[in-house]
Amino acid sequence: MGRRVVQIHFLFLSAVVCYAMEERDSASATPRGKAPSNQSRKSYGRSRRSLGVELTNIGFTPGHLAGLRAPTSRELPKPRNLTEHVNPEQIALLVKNEWKLSYITPLYQFRHTQLKTYSKQLSAFIAAEKQQGLAVEIEADTSFRVTFSAVLGLAETEDDAETVFIQIHSRPPFAVEGDAPKVIWSGWLTCINGNPEYLRSLPSGFVCLPLFCTSGSESLTSVVKLWFEKTFDCNFGTLSLNSTCLQWLASMWTGCHPAFNIRYLKLVWNLPAQPPLDISYTIHPQDAWDLWNSIREQDSAADTISINEVESFMKGLEAHFFRHFRIYLSAGTLTKVSTTFGSAHCDGKIKFTSGDSIKHVLMLLTEYALLKMPI
């Protein structure tokens, strides 16, 4: 019995995986997407119980993924000055580091009004974990101070919850009064332009902040995740960016070029040779934009870009490369995309170098986080 349940569980997850990969199908014809979610609606609840996880309302809600589809077209980003809406100091925090991405399932009874309480609870939790002997690479006498803050102004729609920023400061034992505490870990949870159907269908008491970005030591990250899981009954998972996602980013950033000089478009592929071969192709921004524009002229809509255009753009670049080197770039994987706006790596790492296109990138990432979530 146990075995059969696990099998159903895996079937559900694998359906999710192939479904997420089938972004090229048109939105209308996806019977495969609907069927498993219907079948496993009840079995999902059963499998969660059998795995020892507390049964929550989630198990009984209708299959959310039926409503979520990877979009085939997106709004073209118009980079606007983020400082109009968001405190520049907070933007500076977002722009500083390279962030490692994860997705989180909706948080149960998370209140934006309780941020101070959460700060105290998390500090106490970290201290307790350290006492238990958890390997945290900091001297034994260091004390931690955690701050939770809300980053207002990033949310795009009414359904989006406000972004929450967490910082862990360390205070070494012989710190002088007036010494600024050093930030040793930071992270933030966000939801930008999340799918409104999904957000409204969540049962009350749940807050959805599906994108979790962290920067700092792995041990602290796992302690923070543990606290979240215990307090809000959620689950984490790594959010790796597949090549389609990176291609969207490349196209979006290139499309911004006339308004904001991207300075270069750099794409890195990794080919599975022995030993593995990395190929990086850095394109002059004006030429990249000319290519993008020539593809776009066939399309009339000025505000949206479609997956077909993205594919043609990438195919154009790959073909130009092939003409010279006769190497099939499609034999490898696209691992990194970068411009002056920032860089994205397929292992789930992102870096923003300027506040300009943060919102659109976050919209894309929120979508991917929601798609990747198993609920």
Partner: protein, 344 residues
């Protein structure tokens, strides 16, 4: 001992791993047997450094003598830092210098006449290569031993390998070299990498291309259970790909290159983007290949089909022409890698 000497010694001890440091100090010959034996190489590095410092003070070791340790280490383990390859051009054949003493005296005299404060150490190794270590100074500054330039030259050849040279000192070094080797000028071969022996092999064509006789036996040997009833559908294609790979890259051990950079300045000519194709300006971009062993990776790409055969001259030029930086422009109807360097 003066501060500069202390700093140089500290840097040396910090950089060189303990095992290798022991060997190098043994070959240095400035410390007596007793002093060498008194050093405890199991101590942490800072303690070892202090002991070494006191021993050097006993012997009144100068900075230049300390630099010998670094040079010994570098000649023994040359694969650090990036080496760039240059070549002497316009050399009249008869005057090619093959005498080390003569070259050494000429070079020292020439460089010292160009720049006042400079510290030069030269050494000839068994393989007929001349190693030069140069610490550059300025008008009012003593030579900086913390950032030396290393030059390797094989006397019978026109090639020079340089590491750690700044743009400021480049013209001085080249002029001194040109005068000492009695040639017209020094040109950039556009070849660089970490592994000195690989660069040497590539530039001097010591890398032999072994042409395969036949592949039939190889493929069949690899099949663990040869069954006459099972036929490999793609056997001819696989053999062809492997043959092409061997022809271009050879079967012997390939020289270890890490990167190849191509600066593309060709026009965009793909179908489906007519507006772009009509333009006269090039589609600019820079392609960089990198791998722990680039030529092996490329050979694998060809033999596995990721690169389609026949191999493009852009890739085969790496071994054919012995360079890894190219500027590609449109030339007539085809694509030919530009050779801004000397033709040979």
């Amino acid at each position: 001992m003066e501060d500069l000497a202390k700093e140089v010694l500290t840097r040396i001890v910090r950089k060189i791993p303990v095992v290798k440091l022991r060997q190098v100090l043994g070959r240095w010959e400035r410390l007596s047997e007793r002093q060498l034996r008194s050093l405890d190489f199991t101590q942490p590095k800072w303690a070892l450094c202090e002991n070494l410092l006191s021993l050097c003070e006993e012997n009144n070791i100068t900075v230049k003598q300390l630099a010998e340790i670094e040079m010994l280490y570098r000649t023994e383990y040359p694969d650090q830092g990036i080496w760039h390859v240059f070549q002497f051009v316009d050399t009249p054949e008869e005057t090619q210098c093959s005498d080390f003493m003569h070259f050494r005296d000429l070079f020292k005299a020439n460089l010292k006449s160009l720049i006042n404060h400079v510290s030069i150490q030269m050494k000839k190794l068994e393989d007929e290569s001349v190693w030069i270590r140069i610490a550059w100074g300025e008008n009012f500054r003593r030579p900086n031993h913390l950032k030396p330039t290393y030059v390797v030259h094989h006397l019978q050849t026109p090639y020079v390998f340089v590491s750690g040279l700044t743009n400021k000192h480049k013209p001085l070094l080249f002029q001194a070299l040109a005068l000492s080797a009695q040639c017209g000028s020094v040109k950039d071969v556009n070849l660089s990498g970490r592994c000195l022996s690989a660069l040497r092999d590539l530039s001097m064509r010591q890398y032999k291309q072994v042409f395969p006789i036949s592949h039939q036996e190889c493929l069949q040997e690899r099949d663990p259970l040869p069954n006459p009833n099972i036929e490999n559908e793609h056997i001819k294609l696989t053999e062809y790909k492997q043959q092409v790979a061997s022809e271009v890259f050879g079967d012997a051990v390939l020289p270890k290159l890490e990167t190849a950079v191509y600066k593309l300045e060709t026009k965009y000519r793909e179908h489906g983007n007519e507006n772009l194709v009509k333009k006269d300006e090039p589609f600019r971009g820079v392609v960089k290949f990198s791998s722990s062993n680039l030529l092996e990776s490329l050979k694998y790409c060809v033999s596995s089909g990721m690169a389609s055969a026949p191999v493009t001259p852009l890739l085969s030029s790496i071994t054919q022409k012995g360079r890894n930086y190219f500027v590609i422009k449109d030339k007539g109807s085809g694509l030919i890698p530009n050779t801004p360097g000397p033709k040979f």
